[in-house]
Amino acid sequence: MNSAASWPILSVVTFLPTIGALLACLMRGDTPSGQRNIRWIGLWTSLLTFAISLLIWTGYDPSNGGFQFVERYAWVPSANFVYQKGVDGISLWFVLISTLLTPICIISSWDSIKVRLKEWIVALLVLETMMVGMFTALDLVLVYVFFEGVLIPMFVIIGIWGGQRRIYAAFKFFLYTLVGSVLMLLAIVAMYLKAGTTDMIVILRTPFAPELQTYLWLAFFASFAVKMPMFPVHTWLPDAHVEAPTAGSVILAAVLLKMGGYGFIRFSVQMLPNASEYFAPLIFALSIVAIIYTSLVALVQTDMKKLIAYSSVAHMGFVTMGIFALNQQGLEGGVFQMISHGIVSGALFLCVGVVYDRLHTREIARYGGMAVNMPRYALVFMVFTLASVGLPSTSGFVGEFLSLVGGFLRNTWVGVLASTGLVLGAAYMLVLYRKLFFGVLDKADVKAMSDLHWREIVVFAPLVALVFWLGIYPATFKDPIASSVAGIVSAHQARITPKAAEVPAANAGKVN
């Protein structure tokens, strides 16, 4: 479908980190020079991967909303499994976020990770392979393998470099995910049996009977709702974040949660249009509960990471609402909100990491008055706070507002209730900022902390730039999304039309 794919660029981006990981395995991890080599291998591999992934972006044709850079090899011909990869204007950005954040995570953990360094770098690189693999896969089995495979390095990261209650957190994470995974697998099997192939490009065009769609939809929902996470299956997230090391939290928030949203779009919306239409009210209800409920919970948190984790759940509420609004603004908003949240929440966890590295506590009350001795840090934190609050001209605004528009057009109740998130979201973030940075600087150990040093600035600079780029000139990112979303929306309309003729489509928000 695209001539630029004269070499298998997606596979290269997927597996290059694994090659780096193998190289790192060959190094001696117990000597200082060996450790230094491992760090540099990790950094160079991830930077090279990022550089190559930029070629996907530059080669991508934004006016064509279909899959590009498609690679296709027979995998298990007898079973009709194919090794098939490709990106559209939606998955493109998730690939880039994954490849951007991996080097940032390696740099940010340069000094803070000292035990089992080799395993650390290997885990991060393998994680990158899994993430990129998941977002570029266009075969059911391939998707499933990567979808589940991501969890392995993530468990390792939480389990080895995590905090005090890491076992409980990892276990909770596992338990939630397990139920979803089993059901998702069953759904995939059912789809395979029905369509006779695991080729997703074929399945995307395969109509499933409405009744079957219902079951399939619920099975996928069980998996994606946990990943997202949606209320009420979100309680693993705060624990996982709190126990994970900084880099783990960054990847978890920035990329892993997005697999849920991506799944909703690719599987639920695109493959199961009638069921998506049918279940949209359920999603809206859960989204609104998530926005209000978790925002209120975030308001009373005393642990920085927990607060940001809960805020993630609320922000993902906007995403699910936007996606299932099933119109141009809503879907675009949902995707954009995921990209923005990937950058902003990742950055916020990095911000927490900055002070955690210095004071080794996440207790909000232990800090205060840091605007005095850490002005650069205060500025950076302010930028991400505002982006999280969704101030116009930051990345957070575009996605949040478009999602709200989408929801509002669908049903004004949805728009009105969800927009309370504008107030609540500002409340918990500003209260957090006030407790950390304002007030009197009276704690001796807080006073002794130094401002951002150069490596931390290197980590934050690209993220700050992206927040404003996405906020002021989002067209760069939104043009590819728009064409793909337009395709999805028109295909969706076409496929639900026979039904829509009998029952008029929801006309809330339309002028009569």
């Binding site: 089995v141 589940e148 575009v398 504008l422 107030v423 006030r434 940075f437 009569n512």
Partner: protein
């Protein structure tokens, strides 16, 4: 090109002063920001002359911002008469405040940060008034809210300043929620959020219905009311006003620029900008009229009782904003903008004058600790008289009047002429005018007359402000003296049709300003009469019979306490919103997440299942690889099963 320079200079200055502070130093930051603002003001005046007087409205499109289907918004600079008036007001007052701040903040340690915030605010305000679509308007709207938040909390070591800053942001966000929903409603109705498209189609939609929250409601009225909620938040109208008095925690130049002259008038501007919509929605206008007139009255009563010099002026601001809103409510948009313009000058003058008083006596703000200052700071004293005379609307009919004389009269005459609900507004406005004169002279007498009631050491050091603070005051005083007389014909007089062009649309078949010119003589004279009565009453209370205020307060203690405690809005909101929100948060967290979901979800499975318990204990040996391995094996097994099924 000139348009872009005018708007972007303050942003550039803010960036330089804010980010380059070490190398630049205090002087450098002050020089850059003040220089940029003065230049911006000069360009602003030139553009006003070209656009409004030379009748050359235009729009400069910069680049696309958000485009999603028909939901399209550009970064653009729209200059028509309405915008040009706002640009002049904003840049001139802002330039005055910038220069004044050099003196006022001379003892502060964070001068570059302060100047950067001020310039950032100015940029946001300019972006707001030059928007050519609802979304850029919203950008400026939220941007000025951010700048206001940063500046209210400028002295961030003070807990009260932080509280006030967060309160201001959140109360404003409640309004913004309404604004955002209003934008969505406009998009749902018109399929566009660009002003030109929407306004051109407004008349054709005046009977359209709209399904909102399950009810069929008139489309335009609904959209207008939602937008009005936003205006209420930003312009501190009754109900969403509680943040404004607290905002006085910020440095006084901030109060003058943001919380008197410019940002709080954004709501007035927004409604005038949307006049083509509101003029098609008479019911929405009626609501605006009621809310505005109640605000004018209620705020004026509170102003009578406050002791903090800045809070008196803050309530006065709220009251005057009420006037502007009920002017809009009767369709007299031009009169509202006229009052906005004159008010910006004399209220900024009053605030900066109050700042000069505070500066003279070491930061004291309580008028109970002032008195007799007219000898120590004569120039400030004189300037406060000019500001107060303009606020009270004093003048000699037919010959000369201070700025407020013309604009307040125009509003009251228009509302009387509108009849019905407008006449109620007229009487509330007359009562508020009486109170306005009274509290203004109460302030002057308590501050400048009688004996000094504070520490005598403070009085010994009391000094007149330096020229860098006084010169901006003279500029503003010139506005308070002549802006009304000079601009009368353009705004509401003979030349008004040519002046406004198409930037303001009055309700069909009605010209409230024309009607205002034909009211009975007594209606025109009533505001002046009650103003003089108010001044005389205040003189009686605070010069002759200084025992009277206490006696009156005691005689009507119930009403007095109710008014003094600001009608208990803060207490009410705290009990209804703030505390329940925190309580709910805790309940959801402890009872919901941990009590219900975890107990009956993952934890229950864990404790009930031997198998999983085994897993847990194996985890606790610390060997997660094992688990990962099991997981991988699972995947492999599943894949194998697939293969087998395939055959």
């Amino acid at each position: 090109m000139l348009e872009a320079i005018c708007i972007l200079l303050p942003l550039l200055a803010a960036a330089i002063a804010g980010l380059g502070n070490r190398r630049l130093g205090d002087r450098g930051a002050q020089f850059v920001t003040c220089g940029a603002l003065i230049l911006s003001a000069i360009i602003g005046v030139y553009l006003f002359a070209d656009v409004a007087l030379g009748h050359h409205p235009r729009t400069v499109k910069l680049f696309s911002w958000i485009a999603s289907g028909d939901f399209r918004a550009d970064w653009a600079l729209r200059f028509d008469t309405l915008t040009a008036v706002m640009v002049v007001v904003v840049t001139v007052v802002s330039a005055c405040v910038h220069v004044y701040s050099v003196g006022y903040m001379s003892h502060d340690h964070s001068k570059p940060r302060f100047m950067a915030y001020l310039s950032l605010f100015t940029f946001m305000m300019l972006a707001l008034v030059t928007a050519d679509n609802f979304l850029q308007l919203f950008f400026g709207w939220e941007g000025v809210g951010l700048a206001s938040y940063l500046l209210i909390g400028f002295w961030f070591h003070k807990a009260s300043a932080n509280d006030a800053a967060i309160k201001a942001f959140l109360v404003n966000r409640v309004g913004d929620m309404g604004f955002a929903l209003g934008i969505m409603a406009v998009f749902a109705i018109f399929g566009s959020i660009e002003f030109n498209t929407v306004f051109d189609a407004a008349a054709s939609k005046n009977a359209a219905m709209f399904n909102f929250l399950g009810y069929q409601v008139p489309a335009l009225t609904t959209a207008c009311l939602l937008l009005f909620i936003g205006a209420m938040g930003k312009s501190a109208q009754l109900g969403l006003h509680t943040w404004l008095p607290d905002a006085m925690e910020g440095p006084t130049p901030v109060s003058a620029l943001i919380h008197a002259a410019t940002m709080v008038t954004a709501g007035v501007f927004m409604l005038c900008r949307c006049s083509p919509l509101f003029s098609q929605a008479p019911d929405a206008l009626a609501v605006v009229c009621v809310v505005g007139s109640l605000t004018a009255f209620v705020a004026a009563t509170i102003g009578l009782t406050q002791w903090d010099i800045k809070r008196v002026i803050a309530y006065s601001t709220m009251s005057q904003l009420g006037y502007m809103f009920f002017a809009i409510g009767v369709g007299a948009y031009a009169a509202a903008i006229f009052h906005l313009m004159t008010h910006a000058f004399f209220k900024a003058l009053l605030f900066l004058g109050a700042g000069s008083v505070i500066h003279a006596i070491d930061g004291e703000q309580d008028m109970r600790n002032m008195g007799g200052l007219r000898k120590a700071i004569p120039k400030t004293h004189m300037l406060m008289w000019i500001g107060s005379l303009a606020l009270a609307g004093i003048g000699i009919p037919g010959i000369y009047g201070f700025a407020g004389f013309y604009s307040k009269d125009a509003i009251l005459e228009a509302s009387w002429a509108a009849g019905g609900i407008g006449q109620t507004a007229f009487w509330l406005g007359i009562a508020a005018a009486l109170f306005t004169a009274f509290y203004s002279w109460r302030l002057i007498y308590l501050t400048f007359f009688g004996k000094f009631r504070g520490d005598h050491h403070v009085l010994e050091h009391a000094h007149e402000s330096p020229p860098v603070m006084l010169i901006p005051l003279y500029v503003l005083a010139a506005g308070a003296l002549f802006a009304g007389l000079g601009a009368y014909n353009w705004f509401v007089g003979h030349d008004r049709a040519a002046f406004w062009g198409t930037s303001i649309v009055t309700p069909p078949g009605r010209d409230p300003i024309e009607a205002a010119h034909h009211v009975p003589e007594w209606v025109s004279l009533a505001p002046l009469a009650v103003g003089i009565v108010g001044i005389l009453l205040a003189s009686w209370f605070y010069l002759k019979r200084t025992d009277l205020p206490k006696k009156v307060a005691a005689a009507f203690s119930g009403i007095y306490v109710l008014v003094f405690r600001k009608y208990y809005f803060d207490e009410l909101y705290d009990a209804v919103f703030v505390r329940p929100a925190l309580w709910l948060g805790r309940v959801f967290w402890k009872r919901g997440d941990e009590g219900l979901i975890d107990t009956y979800g993952p934890d229950a499975i864990a404790s009930n299942s031997q198998r999983f318990a085994g897993f847990v204990s194996r985890f606790q040996t610390g060997y997660l690889y094992q688990y990962a391995f099991v997981m991988l094996i699972g995947v492999v097994l599943f894949t194998t099963w697939f293969l087998w099924r395939g055959h």
